[in-house]
Symmetry: C2
Subunit: 381 residues, 2 copies
């Protein structure tokens, strides 16, 4: 099996040799190549190797003169660091890769894992919530996590303070998965280093980021899509209005995941996000039993899973492209917009817009965020 | 206009003279004549006067030998007591009668009122909840009641401790209605006598019970159907599982009323009833704004309002009747059953069962409860 078998109707085959793996990792770690661009480039060029060769030209065509792909040495260093940390590099398309995660629109092509990889084949429930959780919130996280783990669910969370910490602790023996925003070997926050070690021994830690990466603010929304992507359902245990947990919940809905929430009294501001979710249709959770019942309900029929379409680039005049370019920039203001909404607003066929968005992402002008959102770049990658 | 105009498709015309009123009140106050039986007898016999004349025979046919209708003197005493208390007797079918209340299956034919009767023509919202409410619960009741009254709603409640008291107090200036389980002149509980006086001056108190009646346990469910019957929506502010407020909520649903509930943390037992209601589809309430929004939503189409059908009594053999009698008694166990369910279970046409149920009610064997429920009698009336 080689990558030549790729057709436009099948996802890329996973790398089966060390060389192919190195090419995947180099492509993924190259500047401004996000997950969507990664899969698009592989489709357009047949293999990661071919994509790597084409990348400087693609960048030049997008106006970036001095583009260089990720050096092979960097990738070898990452692979070495991974081995040293006892981590496994899990590849999209292999049996080790979690099925649910491969169904989201932007699955990580590769992720590092430390611990018991069998956990990703259990049914998974994500518990998310406030870092500054109340004592009610952390107690509820503990109770839910322990009971869900006892019922055979792996409890997924983000290793943060508050709700995450309580959930991981309570599910440590039963089965818990921590999805990290930085490198899988970077134990963040420091106060959870001990918990992280224990999860590596009894549960599972994973991250799509390079070994050694210190997590920054922009890594957390990307990480959160993996938390909800792994799970059948996301339970928001405690969340204020406008909190990050609500963004996770919204993205989870976009991924077709069940969203559930623990209510609180309206005078308790720390419950306001959860109450808002329930008003908007999230299932009210009082106990693990409520979660399990919700999962047992017949689901809405799944949307057909179409791999991201990569149409052949249509002939476009330079003038058209320039016009689209500046219109796109004018439409992406300070707050991110959804890609599909942008394309509708542009009144231009998606297949004409898509390659321009790739150019602009390569160019560092725009960034893809979780949930199909596009934003003006805030930092060069 | 006289009562002779009654047809089987129109509700009885209200009494327009003192004599007719006395007949209505005598019929209503006669032993074992509940609301349903009251309307049925008037339909069957044309007028209250005729029904009163027929009543001893009806009772005898049901096996009650020594039945006597309510003496005229008792009714005159009640009317005199009402006048002395400054109360008005509001008659079903008059413009003073609240429209919403006349639409429930068992509207009181008459009720006593003290205070500002114009309040019943405002949009009304009921606030109900625990007598042993938490401080969060009473604070929420106050906030909701004050804000709803400011928005022009009359706030309906039951003058009980806890949530009721807080709601009435907060809506005293804006507009509040207390529905009492005992006589409208009986200030119960005693600690709320002062509040009750104030409601009589600035708001409205009402009761379908005779003047002077001390409320007993069985009067409260009957009273609760009036609270929800008056209101467009019932907001459960705080309620434990298996509390009376939940029964009120369920009956409110049967009456086609919106049911809303204030959530609480699942570890707070006093919120468990509210959380259960929300799981079952009640609208989650965080503020008066949420209540008003819910009321502004388009309603489900109303069920066609069919006046209780009073078919001509079919010919039945004594043996049939006796068999039905004992089967009905065997099916009404310690917990009440719904009349329509009972009729389905009996596999006997409703028009054959209905007159037997009247007999049995007259006979004191069964009792009608709010929400169309039938129960074995616990007390002779």
């Amino acid at each position: 099996m080689t990558e030549e078998h790729l057709s436009s109707f099948h996802p890329p085959l996973p790398p089966t040799t060390e060389d192919l793996l190195v090419s995947w990792l180099r492509l993924l770690r190259s500047r401004r190549v996000g997950v969507t661009t990664f899969f698009r480039l592989i489709k357009e060029h047949g293999t990661a190797e071919a994509a790597l060769q084409a990348l400087p030209d693609v960048a030049r065509a997008a106006g970036v003169q001095s583009y260089a792909v990720c050096p092979e040495g960097v990738v070898h260093a990452e692979l070495k660091a991974g081995r040293a940390a006892g981590a496994t590099l899990v590849r999209y398309g292999t049996p080790e890769y979690p099925q649910a995660l491969s169904d989201i629109p932007d699955p990580p092509p590769l992720f590092w894992a430390i611990g018991d990889l069998a956990l990703v084949h259990r049914p998974m429930v994500a518990l998310v919530g406030a870092r500054n959780a109340s004592s009610l919130g952390t107690r509820m996280a503990r109770t839910l996590a322990r009971e869900l783990a006892e019922e055979g669910f792996a409890v997924v969370s983000g290793l943060a303070r508050g709700v995450d910490t309580a959930a991981h602790h309570a599910a440590l023996e039963g089965g818990t998965i921590a999805v990290q925003a930085g490198g899988v070997d970077v134990l963040y926050p420091a106060e959870n280093a001990d918990l992280a070690h224990q999860i590596g021994q009894k549960g599972l830690r994973l991250s799509e980021q390079p070994m050694g990466l210190q997590p920054m603010a922009r890594h957390f929304p990307r990480r959160n899509r993996i938390i909800s992507g792994l799970a059948q359902a996301v339970v928001v245990v405690e969340a204020a209005a406008k909190s990050g947990s609500l963004i996770t919940a919204r993205n989870a809905l976009d991924q077709g995941r069940d969203v559930l929430a623990v209510p609180g009294h309206p005078f308790d501001a720390r419950a306001s996000g959860c109450n808002m979710l329930i008003r908007d249709g999230a299932t009210l959770v009082r106990s693990a039993r409520d979660v399990i019942e919700a999962l047992a309900r017949p689901q809405a029929p799944e949307l057909p899973l179409v791999p991201p379409a990569v149409p052949p680039a249509p002939e476009r005049s330079l003038r058209d492209v320039a016009a689209l370019h500046s219109e796109i920039l004018s439409r992406i203001g300070p707050s991110p917009v959804a890609e599909d909404q942008l394309i509708r607003d542009l009144k231009t066929p998606a297949k004409a817009v898509a390659p321009i968005l790739v150019d602009m992402e390569m160019n560092g002008l725009i960034e893809r965020q979780a949930g199909g959102l596009l934003a003006r770049s805030t930092a060069a990658k």
